[in-house]
Symmetry: C2
Subunit: 664 residues, 2 copies
């Protein structure tokens, strides 16, 4: 993650400084989420979503399904979480999906190696700054909290010790590259600067690799090894043949999957941003490598997106460039139309669910940051109190995964396209006479055959020439074999191909739903000037956990039947709504629902019963309108399905002046 | 599972006998589901859902969420799959969630013990029947396939050997009770009848227990043991305090959760009916044990449900009794209103998604079948080609789980209800004078304190009397301690309670979504008389994977823009639809979509382009109607959202006579 600079300030409508503790308090109090197994002491990195959080998450997922799967006619999948180890061996996860860890040599406490290095260096730099400030008689402002603050449970304490100038700059350089170090490099840094376990000051062990997949055994014999999937993507790739067949053998098309994935983090931190179990939504879009245009590109090309290009990052800057997706693709900044299309669709999705697009940027990966096979990669990053957080990755994975699975399983994971005009060309083709070859070379015959079939065109041409002279020799496994024209022939043939066969490239938009969920909460959270202790979550009706609060103005029993009736009508329309008939004041009941992000409240008073009217309150403005039960229910339904906004609602319902119910 | 008898016959509309292989072929061909990791050879008991299956499953789940969570204002949860071992130790799963297995003493092959016994005995009985038939000169009809057929990969072969009569009846008795045997009893049966491994004929080992939970470690130290949850229920119970608080401290209320659970089956079989990873939807309804009435009972009491009472089963019968839920509760057949209410809601849910209610029954558990703490339990069973399958369990779990978690964690998982009138009563209350007790008994003081505080009213009364006589003795840990009135006092006090505190009872409807999914497919599957090779899936629009097929009548390019336009309009309405512009005949394209269960097809011909009309085809009747684009889109939307049925649609759109497009 690049260091945030030129950040839009975290200003909310009330202009109070954002306090993460206040939001976190709200999350627990109103049961959005909580640490799992809390009554058993809890487990780090595992979270349970309560009624408000589960409903919000489920609404985000439903909209994702509508926006991507249904709107774009994607092929949905639901593949298993428990994954055969062979599959993850092929994908590289068994060998490479690991972090480096170090152990306190005396207490045995375990740290993620890069986090420990970062932690100790930051503490020393802080101590250095304090010492320098003392020297010059200045006070040092506490640094703003960063994601690093929670990286290890026991944070190294800073001591005011001045460091040599060159060491300060060395530390800064290390911290800038902390994500890129190998185990050996981390080991060298730890030794060179005598970095020690933050909690105890003891020496730490050599860094060792720890695979981040949860491991288990399938069946009673322990012979089938399985892992909990670290991503849903492999479940798409192993089903590619069936997906292609379902799509009548044609590309482009996309598969999509929403589901849980797992990473056995060494030391989870930063709340919902780094967890051991999380929901992902992944799209794998299969495309002809020779044509990455997108039929619906025109629908997004006008959208202006904030881009952080890799050249800008290379220059050490983070200035965002705002331009249309059309410009970005035409100028080559974004590699192709399909990538551009998805960047546009991701932007629209995030905006619709309520993300503050002023705290959104698309950051292109540096060349050394991408996997070697990837041709381009852009992350949608959201600015939170932890800094800029990668929430959606959008990568061109090229043909890598399908090729690897194909090599391993010997299944042809390719697309075949009839050519309009057959392709005619000439090439050298070897023929082996096995009847002669076998007796002549016995056990080496197969080796010779494979070698000859593996020769390239130049080699075959030379082989043909040699054979024409009576004999030719081939090298295999360090031996030389002499072949005769009777054993092998090479012909220069005319080839006519009527089908083009290729492994499709894969463009993968991959969404971390939990991270989006958390960023959305930060972006939606504020407090009213007149009630700073209580927060308001300005979630759009589309995703708000509950849409309507029904508030009888008093506990008088005359009001209850109408409250029940309105609630039932809304339920039948699948609009989640709750009655709050507690004895709290009406203001307090509104405030409690502002905390839940409930966008609308319907108030039932004696005029309602007498005249069949309801007042409708909007959460952000606290404005109230009035109408008949039918009118209000109708407006609420339109508001909740996005067919009407509050301005439109105000045109349909007159303002509530507070006098309309007096003459009842 | 009880033996099926008086089964409604598996008659479909075409009256062809149901062939499971045909349905299974369709499932694979049209990618409803397939064995996971197929290209790697597959893993038993793990299935991937393809586009048709994932969409169907997702529609079932969405309807479940609307029908239960939103309609009934339940509190949704999303708790972790990875579960702390302590939690599952408390729930009993670590000790008891196991099956017995035996191992072939020579090949090492593993069998689930009860399945092996069943398998061998069934083979012997079949051989016996053959031998007896030969004796009497009659042919033996092959038994209908049962779930047992797939219980072991390698099925024991029957050999025509006649058995003694008493052995035949012993075998039948064993088979009838096969689910209830302990390991020791299975061992005895295996030895007594010399049962051997079906594949090899070798002896098998003593039965050993195999825990069915997938085990893993959380974090890098291996010190935190975790299991993949075998049910979602424990995730509800550990969050009970927060849920109750969310509901303002009041019962009744329900929590609900939809998510994956896992069972590491010894030898999975029977397709989707016994798998290692599956989706569950579970409701935990918390209720006052002294009042299990339900406020909305009147909404379901008129529903007639097919009940299989435990008394009927005890008599060895399976006759269903059809009666209203109201009658069943009033007569005491169903224990309480809340159980009855959920049985009604389950019935409505299954009916709405397309289950054939003539192949549905509610079977009450026998007393010895229920957990000791359960007060009543009814399973919704669906009749499939595997027999009657438990698809929804509806159990009254009493206060068991909350009590166990409370005991273990020392948290008070109780509801507190203010009493209208305070409860006044008298009781013996001991007081310990610790200042005197401590010096007198030193390390034993705490033990004595706990012992005295644990005495019941009779014991306290006796203690008071003894103390009045100068001294009393208490027994603890095998020692006797003599206490004086200075150390301990017992008073007969008047107690006034203004709050009633109780552990709520839990009524749990628990849905196996995968089993319902499979049963629904069997109930929906048939073939037309004129096209027996191809199946039709008569799925209701509510759950059908795709709602509308858009069929341009030919590949003429004039038709394509209108097809795209109709498709886009439907997509914007979130109606999943697909264009089939392949070169196949129109009949073949309809047939392919009948296989997918697509309820409607919109046909685009030259009249459509010229006059703006579309024809609308209904899948089951193949009837076609005609209307303008607007009319047809509107009718389709109403059909898909359940606001209109086909009869209603026919009133809005005239029949297509085939001539309307000629005069274009």
């Amino acid at each position: 993650m690049a260091a945030p600079a030129q950040e839009p300030t975290l200003v909310k409508k009330d202009a109070h400084p954002f306090e993460r503790a206040q939001l976190e308090g709200l999350m627990t109090k109103r049961f959005f989420y909580t640490q799992a197994f809390e009554i058993y002491g809890g487990v780090a990195g595992l979270y349970d979503y309560g009624p408000s959080g589960a409903a919000l998450q489920s609404n985000i997922i439903n909209y994702w399904r509508n926006h991507f799967i249904i709107e774009e006619d994607m092929l949905e999948l639901d593949t298993t979480i428990m994954t055969l180890s062979d599959v993850l061996k092929t994908s590289g996860h068994v060998d490479k999906f690991a972090d480096w860890m170090v152990k306190d040599t005396k207490t045995g406490e375990i740290y993620r190696a890069d986090h420990m290095v970062e932690n100790v260096l930051e503490a020393r730099l802080k101590g250095d700054a304090e010492a320098r400030a003392k020297e010059s008689g200045q006070a040092v402002a506490d640094a703003a909290p960063t994601a690093n603050d929670k990286k290890t449970k026991k944070k190294a304490k800073s001591v005011a010790v001045k460091l040599p100038d060159d060491e300060v700059s060395a530390y800064h350089k290390i911290l800038a590259q902390i994500d890129d170090y190998s185990g050996a490099q981390l080991s060298e840094i730890i030794k060179k600067y005598d970095l020690r376990a933050p909690a105890s000051g003891n020496e730490v062990s050599e860094p060792t690799e720890f695979n981040l997949m949860f491991e288990s055994n399938i069946g009673p014999t322990g012979q089938i090894k399985g892992y909990l999937r670290p991503e849903t993507a492999q479940g798409h790739f192993v089903n590619f043949e069936r997906l292609l067949d379902f799509n009548n053998g044609r590309v482009p098309f996309a598969s999509a999957q929403i589901g849980k994935s797992f990473r056995n983090e060494i030391s989870p931190r930063a709340g919902l941003l780094r967890v051991r179990e999380f929901v992902m939504a992944e799209i794998e879009h299969y495309v002809d490598p020779e044509n990455k245009n997108h039929a619906r590109f025109h629908e997004v090309e006008h959208i202006v997106v904030p881009l952080l290009h890799r050249d800008v990052q290379k220059a050490g800057e983070t200035t965002l460039k705002k331009m249309t997706i059309g410009e970005a693709v035409r100028s080559g900044m974004i590699d192709n139309e399909t990538l551009g299309y998805f960047i546009g669709r991701i932007y629209l999705f995030l905006e619709a669910i309520g993300i503050d697009v002023n705290r959104l940027r698309f950051r292109q990966h540096m060349e050394n940051e991408m996997a070697h096979y990837a041709s381009d990669c852009w992350d949608a990053e959201l600015l939170t109190s932890y800094g800029w957080i990668e929430c959606v990755g959008c990568a061109d994975r090229s043909a890598y995964d399908l090729t690897m699975h194909s090599n391993r399983t010997k299944r042809e994971l390719v697309v075949q396209v009839p050519l309009k005009e057959p392709k005619v060309y000439q090439k050298y083709v070897p023929t082996l006479n096995k009847k002669v070859l076998g007796p002549a070379f016995k056990k080496d015959a197969k080796l010779i055959e494979d070698t000859v079939l593996g020769l390239d065109q130049d080699q075959l041409k030379a082989l043909q020439a040699d054979l024409a002279n009576g004999s030719a020799s081939v090298q295999a496994n360090g031996s030389t074999f002499t072949l005769t024209p009777e054993q092998v022939a090479v012909e220069y043939k005319t080839i006519k191909e009527s089908v083009r066969s290729f492994t499709p490239n894969v463009i993968e938009p991959s969404f971390g739903i939990g991270r989006i969920f958390y960023a959305l909460l930060e972006h939606s959270f504020w407090a009213r000037e007149e009630d700073k202790e209580r927060g308001v979550l300005s979630l759009p009706p589309l995703v708000a956990p509950f849409k309507v609060l029904i508030v009888p103005i008093s506990s008088n029993e005359q009001l209850s039947p109408l409250a029940q009736q309105v609630c039932k009508r809304l339920r039948k329309l699948n609009i989640p709504s709750r009655i709050d008939d507690s004895s709290a004041t009406i203001g307090r009941r509104y405030a409690r629902n502002d905390e839940l992000g409930t966008p609308f409240a319907v108030t039932i008073d004696f005029a309602s019963v007498a005249k069949g009217t309801l007042t409708l309150r909007e959460r952000d403005t606290t404005a109230q309108r009035i109408g008949t039960v039918d009118e209000v229910v109708d407006v609420v339904q339109q508001l909740c399905t996005g067919r009407l906004d509050w301005t439109g609602a105000c045109q349909k319902l007159p303002a509530y002046t507070g006098t309309q119910d007096v003459d009842a």
